[in-house]
Structure formats: C-alpha cells, structure tokens
C-alpha cells in the first residue's frame, strides 16, 4: 500500500470551543489507483489530506490521533525537515485556483525548476530539459517560449496544466488534487481530467482526487470515499458507491445532483405567451487595459433574442463568452454600444434617469456570489426594507411585516431578521439575495450563476425555490449558467453563447437531443455525467 491512513482525527480550536473536523477517518491509496473523496464544504475532505502534509496551521488545528503510513513511514510523526523532503517531492499537490497558487512575479519556468533544484540538487540545465519535457507532456506547445512567460499570460486551463507539470516534475509517488477543475470551463475540465488520468497511468502513481462534484469523481476515480461532517459515510469501488449507494446521505447527494430532463414541476410553458424582452443587434464592449495599448473588446457582439413572458430562458456559455455582460446589459448595469432592448414594448436604452426607475423596479438581478452580493454592514431587515420603502411598497408601519413575508417566501425564519449576512451559510445568504430581488415586486429576473457557489444539496434547494417563486409570482427569468445539467433541469429554452455571440437557441430538450452547432455538441459531450 502506498498510503495507509488509519483513525485520523483532526480538530480545530474555534471561538466556540474545539470542533472536530475529521473523525476517525481511515483510507488507503495504492500505486496506479485513483481515490476520489467527495463531500460538501466543511465535510473535512480537504483537511483529511492536508493534515498529512503538515498543511493545516497548528494551532488552531490539532491532529488528535491516527497514523498515516506512506511507504511504511508515519507522515504524522515526521520532523519538519523530513516533512518538507516528502511534501512537494514524493507527494505533490494541485490546488483549485491556478491563479492564486502560482506566484505572479516569477516566470513559469522559474517556478517549475524550483522543486527540482530544491529537492534533487540537480543542475539547472538538467532541470530545464526535464521541465520542457513535462510541459510538452501536459500539452503546452512551444515550451521553450512559454518557459519565460508569467502566470498572467496563461489562461485558466493552461495555468492548471502548468500546476500539474509542477506537481509531476519531481516524479512523486502520490498526487493530491484538490478540486483541480472546479474553476475551469467544462471543455477545459474534460481535457484536464483526461490529462490527469493519462499521466496517472503512464507514471503509475497514486492519486487522491478531492471534489464536490460527483459526476467528475464518477468519471475518474476507482475508489470513492463519501465524507460528511468529518466522517466517512460510505467507501468502496466507484461504480458501487455512486450507482448503488447504501447510505442515505450518499443517496441524497446523488439525488441532489441535477440530472436528466426538467423536473416534473407541472410547469408547462405557455406557447402563446407574449414577448417580454426583445433584444436586437445588441453590442457591448469594454476597454481592456491589460494590454499595453488599451483597446475596446467586444463582450457582446450583435446579439438578438426574445424572452417570453413566464418562461425560464437559459443562457449557457463558458467563462469569457459574454453571458454575464449580456445579462447586465439588459438590466442597464453596463453601458451598451448599440442595438435595442425592448422591454414590454418600451425601448429601455432610450430611457434616462428617472424614466428608467420604474423599470428598475420591474427587473431585478440575483448574483453568483452570495458573499459579495450582500452589503456586510446591513442586517437582513435593512437590506429588504430598503427597496420596499424606497419604492413605496410599504410604509413605516407595514414594512416589518412585509420583510417577514419576504423572508417567509424564501424559506428564512423570521427570527433572523436582525442578523448580518456573515452570520449565515452560503445557501441562506443566497435566499436573502433572492428575497431582496423579489422585494421590488419584479416580473423579470436575471440570475447570474445563482447556484454555482453552493453545495449540491443546497443548490438543489435553491433551484427548487427559484422554480416555486417563478410559479408563485409569475416571473420570467433569464438564467445564466455554465452548468449544463442545471440549465437542463430548470430552463424551458436555452441560448448558447460563445465568443460574444449567440450560436444556438432552442427548446432545451431539442438542443440536448440534437445540437445544431459543433460547439454545443462539444459542450454537451464534455459535461461529466453521473
């Protein structure tokens, strides 16, 4: 056995006393094997690996018990010097965000060489040829030239390839990958997953793949470990755990992962409904200051589409495709270059100042990050009372009950009314953001990746809440997402965006069954399935 972890327990000292992060966890990985660890945030999936390498800060962290035999040597009893010797050398790691885990001030080549020079004491020329060979192996062409490039010159996918090359350069025996594809687009994710599987079999190393995404783990892992609240819920061969789960928690997780066609909500789109938003030849551009000569970059280029009253229209695309900008353009949150946006027969772009205000009330937005979309210095009451009072939807006497009504609508208990955003979990915060969007009594809502930052079980709850609210308040919605399965689960029609243009539009099931463009086909094929 390459790595054998037994009865590992880790706790953290917090303000509310000592809390166990990992409880009696045992697992093992062998050479040539991929172990997938799945769980929601806070399940202890990362801590159970990081603690082996001395990567959790102590204090507040503390390893209470356990052994971790790596080639017969207990990792938990190593001296710091010996630990450094193993970490980044015989056990390598890849992290989620390749931007923050690469040093922006050092060239890619410099960072690639560092572990080799540090751990293996080999000459720079030797290290360089090894590094170039690896860059080639992870699919970076023209390695010679890329060698002296800096991280910001690479795309997200390329950076992750560099990270992988960096991890593999010392020829480790074990690779720990913590959500390595979570920040990447689905087509890039597919490439990186293939790359990891390929390198793993070629170098015959052990891999621990930590992820919240069951579908990704399903694609890659031989063995799967399901964790919840610091404990292992279920473990076994991937096929068995993910397709014939024994435990209730695993079943819930799997059931929460959006799969297949739209759920039976009894919501049939009214075919005859009128057009609510009509976008024609819309273009929006930004000034890009990142290059030396500032130039305008088209984020949305000549886009036209209609959104019907009462429908949920999906807008799918990869990062940088312009989908968020399109949503913001419709809400007049960014300046539009040209084109028209008709909202309920009125040309929105012609409205200025106070004339726009009634429309602001009718259109609202829900954002991706519930930690950034709420003012940290306003209580729920303040956040929800503000639009109500400002738009005259409640007066001083009725505002409290109106706020409570809104909270009830989104499934928040009234006793939270005086609390601040940071006192809530991500899912609860997203509920507050939804309530705030509903407060003005809108008929049209743009949601920008509203569930991307949430755990899968919470994601499912929020999606169901959105569906219920759409039905209850007779809303129309533009649902922006990179996640194809979520779009299929929620939306009636879908627009596919690529490089600032809409390249495909149609009923969701039609598009899934028979995509018209190659790009859509590629997108659908790249999405991992459970």
């Amino acid at each position: 056995m390459l790595l054998q972890v037994d009865n590992l327990s880790v706790s953290f000292a917090t303000r509310n006393g000592v809390q166990a992060a990992v409880k009696n966890v045992s697992y093992s990985v062998d050479k040539g094997q991929i172990l997938g660890i799945v769980g929601e945030s806070g399940s202890g999936k990362s801590v159970s690996c990081y603690s082996l390498l001395g990567l959790i800060p102590q204090p507040p962290g503390r390893i209470d018990s356990g052994t971790a035999l790596f080639n017969g040597e207990d990792l938990l009893k190593l001296s710091p010097a010996r630990q450094r010797d193993i970490r980044g050398n015989r056990i390598a790691m890849i992290f989620q965000d390749p931007m923050t885990s690469l040093n922006p001030f050092l060239s890619i080549g410099e960072q690639l060489l560092e572990p080799l020079v540090y751990h293996h004491d080999c000459s720079r020329a030797e290290a360089r040829s090894r590094a170039l060979q690896l860059l080639d192996e992870v699919g970076i062409v023209d390695g010679e030239r890329k060698f002296s490039s800096f991280p910001h010159e690479f795309s997200g996918g390329m950076r992750q390839r560099v990270m992988i090359a960096m991890a593999l350069i010392t020829e480790p025996e074990l690779l720990i990958a913590d959500e390595p594809t979570t920040a990447l687009d689905v087509t890039i994710q597919a490439q990186i997953l293939r790359l990891i599987a390929d390198l793993q079999s070629r170098h015959n190393i052990g891999v621990i793949f930590i992820s919240h995404d069951l579908a990704v783990v399903n694609q890659l892992a031989d063995h799967v470990l399901v964790m919840n609240k610091g404990e292992i819920v279920e473990a076994g061969p991937g096929e068995r755990v993910l397709h014939k789960p024994q435990q209730a928690y695993t079943q819930t997780l799997i059931a929460s992962t959006p799969r297949g066609a739209k759920i039976a909500s009894g919501r049939e789109r009214e075919r005859d409904s009128e057009t609510l938003v009509s976008v024609r030849s819309l273009s929006t551009s930004f000034v890009d200051y990142s290059s030396h000569a500032a130039k305008r970059v088209r984020a949305v280029n000549d886009v036209s589409f209609d959104l019907y009253r009462g429908e949920i229209l999906g807008l799918v695309g990869e990062s940088g495709s312009g989908k968020s900008t399109l949503g913001r353009s419709i809400l007049r949150l960014v300046n539009v270059d040209e084109g028209t946006i008709e909202y309920d027969g009125v040309d929105l772009l012609a409205l200025q100042g106070n004339d726009l205000m009634p429309y602001r009330q009718r259109m609202q937005m829900i954002f991706q990050d519930p930690f950034a979309s709420l003012n940290p210095r306003m209580t729920i009451y303040d956040a929800l009372a503000e639009p109500l009072l400002y738009h005259g939807l409640a007066n001083r006497q009725s505002v409290q009950s109106a706020v409570l009504q809104l909270m009830d609508d989104v499934g928040l208990e009234g006793r939270f009314i005086r609390k601040y955003p940071h006192e809530f979990s991500g899912g609860q915060r997203q509920r507050i953001a939804i309530a705030r969007a509903l407060a003005t009594g809108p008929e049209f809502i743009v949601t920008d990746e509203p569930v991307s930052a949430l755990d899968v079980t919470v994601q499912k709850q929020i999606l169901e809440l959105l569906l219920a609210l759409v039905a209850k308040h007779n809303l129309s919605m533009l649902f922006i997402s990179h996640d194809l399965s979520v779009v299929r689960y929620l939306c009636d029609r879908v627009l596919v965006m690529r490089q600032a243009s809409i390249i495909e539009a149609g009923d969701v099931e039609n598009v899934w069954r028979d995509p018209a463009s190659d790009y859509t086909r590629q997108l659908l094929a790249s999405a991992p399935v459970l």
Partner: protein, 294 residues
C-alpha cells in the same frame, strides 16, 4: 402612494448598524472608558473659564517656577503662572484644533475620495490630480501665504490644517471605494433603482469606515503636534495664550531645572492620544458586524 414614495424618515435611515455599533461599543470597556475620559476632558476644557483657579496670563514673578503644591497643584512656570490653569486653557486650543481640523479633513476627504473612487474614469483622474498638486505644495509656504493674505486667526489655522490633512484621507477612501464599487451589492443597489446619493451614503461610505476611523484617530494627534509646530514658528497661537503643544515645547527647554513643566503637559497629551487610539480601535470593531461579539 406617490407622496409616500421616497419618503424615508431619519429614523428608518438610522440603520441598525449604528445602533448595533453602540451596543457593541458599550461592551468594550477600554473603548467606553476612553470615551468617558475624552468627554470629561472636553467638558472640563469648555468649563475652564469658570473652573480655573487663576487667569492664564496671570503672572506672579516673585513666585517664579515652583514645583506642585497645594496652591498650585501642578506647579508654576518661570513667570509664576499656574500650570493647571494654562494646561486647561491649552487643552481648549489643542482639542479644538484636533477635533475641528480632523472633522474638516474627514468631511472633505471622505466626500472627495468617495466621489472620485466611485465615479472613476475622467472625473477620478481630475479629482486625484488636484490632490496630487495640493500635495506638492510645501505646507509651510501654504500656511504662511494664508496668514499673510488673511491675517492671523484661530479659525484660519483650523481650516489651513484641515485643508492639508484631507488629502491623505481622500486617497485612502478612494482606494477603498474602488474595491467596494466592484462588489455585487453595489450592482444590486443600482439594479434596485436607488439614486447615486443613496448608494454612496448607505452602501459605499459605511464600508469604508474601518480604515477611515483608524486614520482619523491618527490624524487628531498629528494635527495637535502640527499646531504646536506652527505656533512655535510664530504662525499659530501666540503667548500668553497656550496649547499643549506649546507647553510641551517650552517645557522641553527647561526640563532639567523644572521637569514638571514638561511632565504634566506631556501626560495630558499622551493620555488623550491613548484614549483616542483605544476609542478608534473600539469604534472600528464595533462598526464591523463581522467582528465577533466575543
């Protein structure tokens, strides 16, 4: 309905942030103690003309410099003037300069920085270049010019110091606001249809408060010392009037013979600065809901 619209009373606007901040501040003993100390000091200085046992210019040349005694609690200076009296009168000047000049700096700096940072682009460029230009003018020359043109007055002194101190404040606030402007809650506020003034006042400014308060508590002592420096050059307060800064600088000249002339004004300034710092830290924490109530 229409009449009711946009009618938000002060009470509703008085967000729970400030009420909660007060509650939290009350639980911070150090900050609360400091607040009480400062308030007592202010009251004492305001009431000085009625409380002081002697006049600030009242000399007793026969007495000369004496150490603290029953008649003169903090001793007397070389002219036989009562140090306690002069300290209290000096406190009036120092505290007034400190608070008023800082308030001026706060007001202009926060306003300027917020507008520049939020609007960005050309407006920001123009506003900040003006700040750069003002920064480049030598402070002393600026003050001397003001004095020459407008004559010497307390009010002018306050304004001159405030007019210089706001520059740094504006830069700090602008930096903060540039980050805040990118936050999604600002976009949400725009989408809600709130007017600019309200977005700035309710969503932007409260989130800049942390660094602003810290910088303000640092500015107050800085301003007090600046006043002493100007007075020393003959540009500020003139004898027989006094301020803490002046008392300290005169005390320092004769510290070997008459140490109490340095010790007591120094203590007064130091304890005020301590209290201000504790209060500033307490305020910053109290105004940030994310800091646990412990």
């Amino acid at each position: 309905m229409e009449a009711n619209k946009h009618d938000m009373s002060e009470q509703e606007q008085g967000s729970s942030l400030w009420a909660d901040a007060w509650l939290r501040l009350k639980h911070n003993r150090l900050a609360l103690g400091s607040l009480i100390f400062l308030l007592a000091l202010v009251v004492l200085c305001i009431l000085t003309p009625w409380l002081a046992p002697y006049g600030y210019e009242q000399q007793n040349l026969e007495l000369g410099a004496t150490p603290p005694s029953m008649a003169h609690w903090l001793g007397t200076d070389v002219f036989g003037r009562d140090l306690l009296t002069r300290l209290l009168y000096g406190g009036r000047v120092s505290l007034m300069v400190g608070f008023i000049a800082t308030a001026v700096a706060l007001l202009i700096g926060v306003l300027w920085g917020t507008v520049a940072g939020y609007l960005g682009g050309r407006v920001d460029m123009l506003m900040m270049r003006l700040v750069d230009i003002l920064y480049a003018i030598p402070f002393i020359i600026f003050i001397i010019l003001l004095m020459v043109v407008f004559g010497r007055s307390m009010l002018l002194l306050f304004m001159a110091i405030g007019a210089v101190e706001w520059l740094t404040m504006a830069r700090i606030v602008r930096g903060q606001v540039q980050g805040i402007r990118q936050q999604e809650y600002i976009e949400a506020a725009i989408a809600m249809g709130l007017p600019l003034s309200r977005i700035l006042w309710r969503h932007v400014v409260p989130n800049t408060l942390g660094p602003v308060i810290v910088y303000a508590t640092l500015t107050i002592p800085q301003v007090m010392l600046l006043e002493a420096f100007l007075s020393f050059l003959g540009l500020g307060i003139q004898p027989p009037q006094s301020s803490w800064g002046l008392l300290i600088s005169y005390g320092a000249e004769s510290m070997e013979e008459y140490p109490w002339l340095l010790v007591f004004p120094g203590l007064a300034l130091a304890s005020t600065l301590f209290a201000l710092n504790f209060l500033g830290d307490g305020l910053r924490d109290a105004l940030d809901p994310r800091v646990a109530k412990d």
